[in-house]
């Protein structure tokens, strides 16, 4: 662009220079033509004066030796003036033909002067004097004729040259007018083209920067050249770079959010694990403490039963006591098992077995009594590597929720099967109830920590379950419809070497 501007300025300057030079040339030419005309007129005047001078001298000659004879000095002056006229002519003319004519004129003038000198100086008899005077007069007449011819020639030449000069001057004037009109228009047009050449790319750049500012980082400036092209390239590169940075920032933000989420989940899991560990410990203690009195009750019932063989009514009551004590002992043992499982490490697990153990516990739940349990367990279910206690906790949370969702009774279906999820082999556990269902707007929140719809709920159960499944690189999803029921789908990867 810089080069273009310089070239443009050079072109405009050149145009002005050429027009200026032409104006100077035109003025010089016109001036010369006028000068030529003036000179031609002067020549004409000069020759007319010369002719008058010759006639004066001729008159002097005629009047010589008469009463009207002019003073000799006057005659000399007239003749000298005549000679000066001829010499003056040489100042104006350089044309060979004219010079030749002037030479001839000068020679004739010299001859005339000589004859006049002769007439002035000679003293002789009358015929000789008359002859000399006649000769001088004749030469004077010849000179007059010669000058007259030259005047006629000059006049005709003057007319032609006057017309030519006037035409030339007129043409020059038209050319100057045209030039005075053309050069400003040319400069204006040129400047407009240049200005457009600058403002066009500027507008394009401004438009593009506005679009980039508006967030359209995919926009690219096209079609600009020179410095504007380089600027456009820089802006395009800047937009590209900006886009990359923003994408990087977005990725970082997502990663940060994920990390935060993971951190939070981990914290929750840790809290839950600690809580469960405490519950386990507590359960273990309670179970241990209850086992002894229950055993005593059982033993005492059995012993008393022997004593009450004759009392059927008492025996029946003792049998009830014995049965309930056994049941209570089973519960305490289950609690002990639960407490031990929360601290278990990962191992190869058959989920069907975990579910079966869980079903045993559930059958003692009062809420489960009005529920029909449907087990649809795949016998060929692949084993997975998992923490048994953790899985049990997950399943227990979901099943307890299902039971709560079916206060008036219902059907709880637990199914397992092998499944391929996103090219990952594993197993799916589906737990379906025919409960009240979960409204759509709550489905997204049920895995959030402390989200609960129950008055006595802690909002930890499903959150912990979600964390545990995540910890096992699995997935937990809910599918529910209000009034029809809810299904939890749990996917657990099979783990290396465990592919079914």
């Amino acid at each position: 662009m810089k080069r273009k501007i310089i070239i443009g300025l050079c072109i405009i300057s050149f145009a002005f220079l050429v027009s200026g030079a032409y104006i100077v040339y035109a003025i010089e030419t016109s001036t010369k033509r006028l000068d030529d005309l003036i000179q031609l007129h002067q020549v004409e005047i000069l020759r007319e004066h010369f002719l008058i001078q010759i006639k004066n001298v001729q008159t002097d000659l005629i009047l010589k030796d008469t009463a009207f004879s002019p003073h000799f000095d006057t005659v000399v002056k007239n003749v000298m003036n005549m000679g000066m006229f001829v010499d003056t002519c040489y100042d104006c003319h350089h044309n060979t033909e004219i010079i030749s004519k002037l030479d001839s004129l000068k020679a004739k003038t010299g001859e005339y002067a000589k004859a006049l000198s002769r007439v002035s100086t000679i003293r002789a008899n009358s015929p000789r004097m008359t002859a000399e005077r006649d000769r001088a007069f004749r030469v004077g007449e010849e000179l007059t004729e010669q000058v007259g011819g030259m005047i006629a020639f000059t006049s005709s030449n003057l007319a032609v040259k006057t017309e030519s000069a006037l035409t030339g001057i007129q043409n020059t004037r038209y050319a100057l007018y045209a030039l005075m009109g053309f050069v400003p228009l040319f400069s204006l047009g040129f400047a407009l083209v240049y200005i457009r050449g600058i403002t066009g790319p500027m507008e394009s750049l401004l438009d593009s920067t506005r679009r980039l500012k508006g967030g359209d980082l995919n926009h690219r400036i096209e079609g600009l050249r020179d410095e504007f092209g380089e600027l456009a390239l820089s802006v395009n590169e800047m937009a590209g770079s900006l886009k990359e940075k923003i994408e990087e920032m977005e990725r970082a933000r997502r990663d940060l959010a994920t990390a935060n989420q993971e951190l939070k989940t981990a914290q929750e899991q840790m809290v839950r694990a600690e809580t469960m560990a405490a519950i386990g410990t507590l359960s273990s203690g309670i179970s241990h403490e209850l086992t002894t009195p229950l055993s005593v009750i059982l033993n005492m019932a059995q012993l008393t039963k022997q004593d009450a063989l004759e009392n059927p009514a008492l025996l029946k009551d003792l049998e009830v006591i014995e049965y309930e004590a056994n049941q209570a002992i089973k519960i305490t043992r289950s609690l002990l098992g639960f407490a031990r499982s929360t601290r278990s490490k990962t191992e190869i697990v058959n989920v069907n077995e975990v579910l079966d153990d869980l079903f045993k516990i559930l059958q003692f739940q009062p809420k489960a009594k009005s529920i029909r349990l449907v087990k649809d367990l795949d016998e060929n279910l692949a084993p997975v590597r998992a923490g048994v206690g953790q899985l049990r906790q997950v399943f227990l949370n979901i099943i307890l929720n299902a039971l709560q969702a079916m206060p008036g009774g219902g059907e709880l279906t637990v199914s397992t099967r092998n499944r391929l999820d996103n090219h990952i082999r594993g197993i799916e556990i589906a737990i379906t109830d025919t409960g009240v269902g979960i409204p759509k707007e709550q489905q997204k929140k049920i895995f959030q920590t402390f989200f609960t719809t129950k008055e006595e709920g802690t909002g930890l159960g499903l959150a912990i379950s979600y964390g545990i499944i995540q910890e096992h690189n699995g997935k937990i999803e809910v599918e529910s419809e209000v009034g029809k029921g809810t299904t939890f789908h749990i996917f657990l990867p099979a783990g290396p070497g465990l592919v079914p």
């Binding site: 003025i27 003036i38 002067q42």
Partner: protein
């Protein structure tokens, strides 16, 4: 005639019509270029004392206009050197130089030897200096000549012919022939010749014989020799029959009552002009090597010559008949 460039008959309307746009353009150019020249104002005219005018007469040695042309540079030089305005006045006849001294008051003149003798005798003028010719001579002598093909070889052969003198007031153009006639025993030359007349100039006398307007002529050798260089016919077709003794070349003589300082200045200028380049240039155009001081005694040959032919200069009628 006025300044030929100062007067124009170009129609005023046409000039305005054509020149106005040019004047505008000129003004623009002058403004743009910033180089408009301003003629410096003429210096205030210094009040100088009007220079003394010295009117110097010239005798028609040759064609009067040619004579003026020859002496103009010398007059200009003397004007510059002396501070006086040296003005030339050519005279149609030799005798006028005596008349003009009386009637017009000439201050001086380049006299021929005989006219000086007359003027010294009648007017009391004093000669200052005379030129030295290119052949290093400062004298001249008279010639009597005829056409080579005329057959005239002596006075006897001249009888009944046409004789052209120069002027009664010339040594070469009149005294010599008179002496020649006197020596040859011709008392009344008017009756001896068919026609005698005065051409007025040495040059015309020579050309009259050359062009057969006269049969015998008399003139001074310096003019004759100058014409020999200009026209080859002069040497080829004319033959000299007699010569006179040498007399001083035409010298500048001035009135005795002129300011002596100016006279001395004039004389010094002439005597030293060959010493400066400008003077040498003027001398070259004049056809001389320089000027030498001249005294009245140097004209003794003229006086003797006049006496020989019984001319009384104080009463001599120098007017041509």
């Amino acid at each position: 005639m006025g300044d030929p460039r100062g007067v124009g008959r170009f129609p005023r309307g046409a000039v305005d019509h054509l020149v106005k746009p040019l004047i505008v353009a000129f003004l623009c150019l002058a403004v743009l270029s910033g180089c408009a020249k301003k003629e410096p104002p003429p210096p205030p005219a210094a009040k100088k004392a009007e220079p003394v005018t010295l009117t110097i007469g010239l005798i028609p040695e040759q064609n009067i206009f040619k004579q003026l042309e020859r002496y103009e540079p010398l007059a200009g030089y003397l004007s510059r050197k002396t501070g006086a305005r040296v003005k030339l006045k050519v005279l149609p006849r030799y005798r006028n130089i005596i008349d003009n001294f009386r009637s017009s008051g000439l201050d001086g003149a380049f006299f021929g030897s005989f006219t000086y003798a007359l003027a010294h005798n009648k007017l009391g003028v004093e000669v200052l200096a005379r030129p030295v010719a290119l052949d290093n001579t400062s004298t001249y002598f008279g010639l009597i000549f005829v056409r080579r093909d005329s057959g005239i070889r002596n006075l006897k052969g001249m009888k009944g012919k046409r004789f052209v003198f120069v002027d009664k007031a010339t040594t070469a153009g009149y005294l010599l022939p008179l002496d020649y006639f006197h020596e040859g025993g011709v008392g009344d030359h008017r009756s001896y010749f068919k026609e005698t007349y005065f051409s007025g100039t040495h040059e015309d006398s020579i050309y009259d014989v050359l062009n057969r307007k006269a049969d015998i002529g008399a003139a001074k050798n310096t003019i004759f020799e100058r014409l020999v260089l200009e026209d080859e016919r002069v040497a080829k077709e004319l033959v000299v029959l007699a010569t006179s003794p040498r007399v001083p070349e035409n010298g500048l003589a001035v009135r005795g009552d002129i300011d002596p300082s100016l006279t001395n200045l004039l004389k010094d200028s002439l005597l030293h002009m060959h010493e400066d380049p400008e003077g040498r240039e003027v001398l070259k155009r004049f056809g001389a090597l320089g000027f030498i001081e001249t005294k009245d005694e140097e004209y003794d040959p003229v006086y003797r010559y006049a006496r020989k032919i019984h001319l009384d200069l104080s009463t001599y009628n120098y007017k041509n008949d």
